[in-house]
């Protein structure tokens, strides 16, 4: 996302784009199942992140989906020829450059196409998982963009149509901060925000009470994958958000936000400790103790609750 903005002449960092769009979140959604296990997310869905940036930056993004795969590919080529950077939703499974072990049927993976190799017709792609650009054959990309299943991308692509402008930071940053605290503290559904974290803790215990430790292991494994693998920056996006807070502290000359960034890094470290404890149980290095994991999650919920309350005061 930050790359699209930079191309449109507005150099802002990835953390700034993440923070301004109020992308940080937590959701435990038992109704949506991935591989038969409830979906756990540490950020808002990609489309909402991009939409969240439109208003503060005066940016216009266009979203297109396609019923016909060939039409989707043709449109992508048109846009690239016109010199656009094009964001796309894809399924990880069909992307050939992904290492074999990371190829799951996960449909909400966003990548950015920035050109095409004249000789082979392969697309040049920037993938947030990796630190350098990759290339992808046309047929594979089409398959990845038109994969079916949960959160099917339907060929979704998006690009900027208007030129964004630097916002009034002193207005937009507090607004974005408040929105994030609202999501984390006051969501009307008990599965979003800090209440979602507590729900997840209960769900792990509930699953353990029904027996089948193998299932519990798969479930906590999936939670950790969502936290560390899907996200950018580690600790379920807590680190990238802390980086945004530091930038905000400087722009607004508010040292209080710097302190809060410190706290959030500590909270992120605690998420990583949770991941470590879970992984050790999965590998049977420690005995499986769902109660202990649930306790850790509840502590995290308490800490995040306190953190976002402080953030609300600071905003």
């Amino acid at each position: 996302m930050s790359a699209i903005l930079r191309q449109q002449g507005l150099p802002i960092s990835e953390p700034m784009a993440f923070g301004l769009s109020s992308a940080l979140s937590f959701a435990y959604i038992p109704l949506i199942r991935i591989n038969g296990l409830p979906l756990v997310a540490y950020r808002m869905p990609p489309k909402s992140i991009i939409k969240g940036l439109q208003k503060p930056l005066g940016l216009k993004m266009r979203f297109e989906t396609f019923r016909n795969a060939e039409a989707g590919t043709r449109r992508l080529d048109e846009l690239l020829t016109a010199g656009q950077l094009v964001g796309m939703q894809t399924s990880v499974f069909w992307l050939p450059y992904m290492p074999e072990d990371l190829r799951f049927h996960f449909n909400a993976h966003n990548v950015l196409a920035f050109g095409r190799d004249a000789a082979s017709g392969d697309y040049h792609i920037s993938d947030p998982v990796f630190d350098s650009p990759v290339s992808c054959a046309a047929s594979a990309l089409q398959k990845a963009r038109f994969a079916r299943g949960v959160l099917a991308p339907k060929g979704l692509l998006y690009y900027a149509t208007g030129t964004p402008s630097a916002p009034d930071w002193s207005k937009e940053i507090p607004k974005a901060l408040k929105k994030t605290t609202r999501i984390m503290l006051d969501a009307p559904l008990p599965i979003i925000g800090v209440r979602g974290i507590r729900r997840l803790a209960n769900a792990i215990e509930g699953m353990a009470a029904k027996g089948d430790p193998a299932q519990v292991k798969m479930f906590v494994g999936q939670v950790v994958r969502m936290q560390e693998e899907i996200g950018t920056g580690g600790a379920g996006f807590r680190f990238i958000y802390a980086s945004f807070l530091q930038e905000a502290a400087e722009l607004l000359a508010r040292p209080r936000l710097d302190e809060l960034a410190e706290t959030l890094v500590d909270v992120g470290d605690e998420w990583r400790e949770f991941a470590l404890a879970a992984a050790r149980m999965i590998r049977d290095r420690d005995p499986l103790a769902p109660g202990a994991l649930a306790t850790r999650l509840r502590q995290l919920a308490d800490r995040e609750q306190a953190f976002f309350r402080n953030l609300r005061h600071a905003a």
Binding site: L102, G221, A242, A275
Partner: protein, 131 residues
């Protein structure tokens, strides 16, 4: 997390690539630090992959014993389950389950075979054998 605490343990599941992490530098500012991988991630990824491989291997054995069709094997091999295969092919789930019966699978029309092969990303003649 400090920049020098960013895990560099190596993670075989990343295939030699590196991931970007945000960590605290010497000046206290967060910065991007490339990570060669964290063991925790490797464990949870392996766990998921092993589980999928187990399903495929189990299906392969049952194909050899004549208890199921090669279709079930290829479904697991493509890391899919019945609901996903149903959505990808546009067939009813019960129809797919019926095609897990070796006899039903054997009398599958060429058109349906193509549909399955396309959805699973394999060639049609590959679909007939569980290997």
């Amino acid at each position: 997390m400090l920049a020098n605490e960013v895990p560099q343990e190596g993670n075989a599941t990343l295939g030699g690539r590196r991931k970007a992490l945000y960590a605290r530098g010497a000046d206290g500012r967060l910065q991007i630090v490339p990570s060669a991988g964290w063991e925790v991630e490797e464990i949870v990824t392996r766990q998921a992959v092993d589980d999928l491989n187990r399903l495929a291997e189990d299906a392969r054995r049952r194909v050899a014993a004549g208890l199921t069709s090669a279709l079930e094997y290829h479904m697991h091999k493509a890391r899919m389950d019945v609901p996903l295969l149903a959505q990808t092919t546009g067939l009813w789930q019960w129809r797919i389950r019926r095609h897990f019966r070796p006899a039903a699978f054997a009398s599958l029309s060429p058109a349906l075979r193509r549909r399955y092969a396309e959805a699973l990303g394999i060639a049609v003649d590959q679909l007939n054998k569980a290997e």
